[in-house]
Amino acid sequence: MELLDAFLPYLLPIFYAVAMVSVFMGLCSYSVLAERKVCSWIQGRVGPNRTRLPLLGHIPILGNLLTGLGIFQPAADGLKFLFKEEIVPGHVNKFYYMLAPVLALAPALTTMVVLPFGRYVDADGITQPLVLANVDLGMLIILGISSLGVYGIVLAGWASNSKYPFLGGIRASAQMISYELAMGLALLPVFMWAATPGSDYGMSLFGAVQSQQTLWLFIWQPLSALIFLVALFAETNRLPFDMAESETDLVGGFHTEYGCFKFGLFFVAEYAHVIMGSALFVLLFLGGWNFLPGLADPWGESLIGSLLSIAWFTTKVFSMIFFFIWMRWTLPRFRYDQVMSLGWKILLPLAVGNLVFNTIIIVLYDTFTR
């Protein structure tokens, strides 16, 4: 027993981390299902509705309902990826070819370490975030690590030694560089407002959420929110910015030469980025787990209160994922030069202007109210 007590501080974080990764991976696979379902509904189809697990799928009414909703489909998809023949084309650089999918997925999974997903009130009555690692520089870590994800794509494009993946990789890197700037600049005003001098939170996402108790940032920083959202679509390589894949002109883009589970890893990485992006947008602009603007925290200090805050946060994240999917099946793809000119000629100046404007407002506010 003493031994357990001694090891508990080390075991618990591992347990938490494993739990979080499994939940996150589960969300990824069900985002794929959500994508397929929403896509089919938008196109007037029904989507995957045939996969049935032996016992669970044969419960009288519930089984048919779950099957019709395609709840068992992700299992079938995953198994398909596992059991397919592993093909490594002869012309690739094997080491980097194998490394690329891992490099694509790892950053997406790493960023969730600093992602707060709820709040609890500790013994001293102080509100604390539910997060794996509560660090002050949460936002910087996410910005830094999530942009590493493009290395996986560039490496995949290069290691495939074939022209279409190569073009996809180049496009992805150019796009990532262009939109990273606008994204960072759009975030600065948010933290200039949220992390006022003397606050305890710094660049942590928890601080950003706590500062939105009365008013969500989305409402009084709409321009930042818009720029961040557009940049987010570009960073996650989602339509209308899926330059790296663009099936119509680049076959499959960077993952043309990939099959079976290695392709599956890229696939999961894309959805991991989508979930991370949605969570980030919710935390920064949609008030995180705060209930409604002006009605921040109606759910008490008990355990149930914490669970409710997590539930409300996940609801918001799911709506955001739905928005991502909805957007994908609404808009056509931009041309490559349009993507570049949108990033450099429109979003970047807008973000700079927004930053300057907010700086002036903050200076005026500080001068006249203190």
């Binding site: 929403v38 938008i42 007037g44 189809r45 029904v46 909805w326 957007m327 609404t330 808009l331």
Partner: protein, 182 residues
């Protein structure tokens, strides 16, 4: 030459240049279609509605009394563009089937090779006895080439019985019996 009308293209308003209103209206459209009923037909369980004049697999039909209609005139065999129909004419045994003895002829063998058939419907069009019909069977499969050749038995099984408006041979027999042939 047709007159071309040149449409005047108005310059975009500042709001339209941001593309945001168009994106919003696009989102509205897709959300609208999401709310609509699915058009999918759950195929093996649900079957499509086949119109009456559908040209499916060619079949041989019997008249309402369950008698063979084909008189093996071989017109369908001659007209068949891909030569899918092969027929061996035979005679009706007058002693075994006295009622139809006056028809004289019936096919001994009747094969339609469904690997050759192009579903053109010319056999149905040309048949003077209205004995061959392209009906509503549209999905046909088999494990071997031989299985894809429909023999006479199979053709009658697929065809079944169709109503006959004319009763041609019955009329002929009645006319003969009343001494009024031709």
């Amino acid at each position: 030459m047709a007159k071309t009308k040149v449409l005047e293209r108005k310059p975009l308003t500042p709001m339209e240049k941001t593309f945001l209103p168009q994106i919003l209206s696009g989102l509205k459209t897709t959300f609208g279609t999401m709310m609509q009923k699915d058009v999918t037909l759950q195929y093996p369980e649900e079957r499509p509605n086949i119109p009456d004049n559908y040209r499916g697999v060619p079949t041989l039909v019997k008249d309402p009394n369950g008698r063979e209609k084909c008189v093996s005139c071989q017109l369908c065999e001659f007209v068949c563009p891909p030569k899918a129909i092969r027929m061996t004419p035979g005679e009706i045994d007058a002693e075994a089937d006295p009622e139809r003895a006056h028809v004289e002829k019936a096919p001994k063998e009747f094969d339609i090779n469904m690997l050759r058939c192009i579903y053109c419907g010319l056999c149905q069009e040309v048949c003077p006895e209205e004995a061959i019909f392209l009906q509503d069977v549209f999905s046909l499969s088999g494990y071997s080439r031989k299985e894809m050749i429909n023999n006479k038995e199979k053709l009658y099984e697929l065809g079944g019985t169709l109503p006959d408006q004319h009763g041609k041979w019955d009329k002929k027999k009645a006319a003969e019996q009343s001494g009024n042939a031709h």
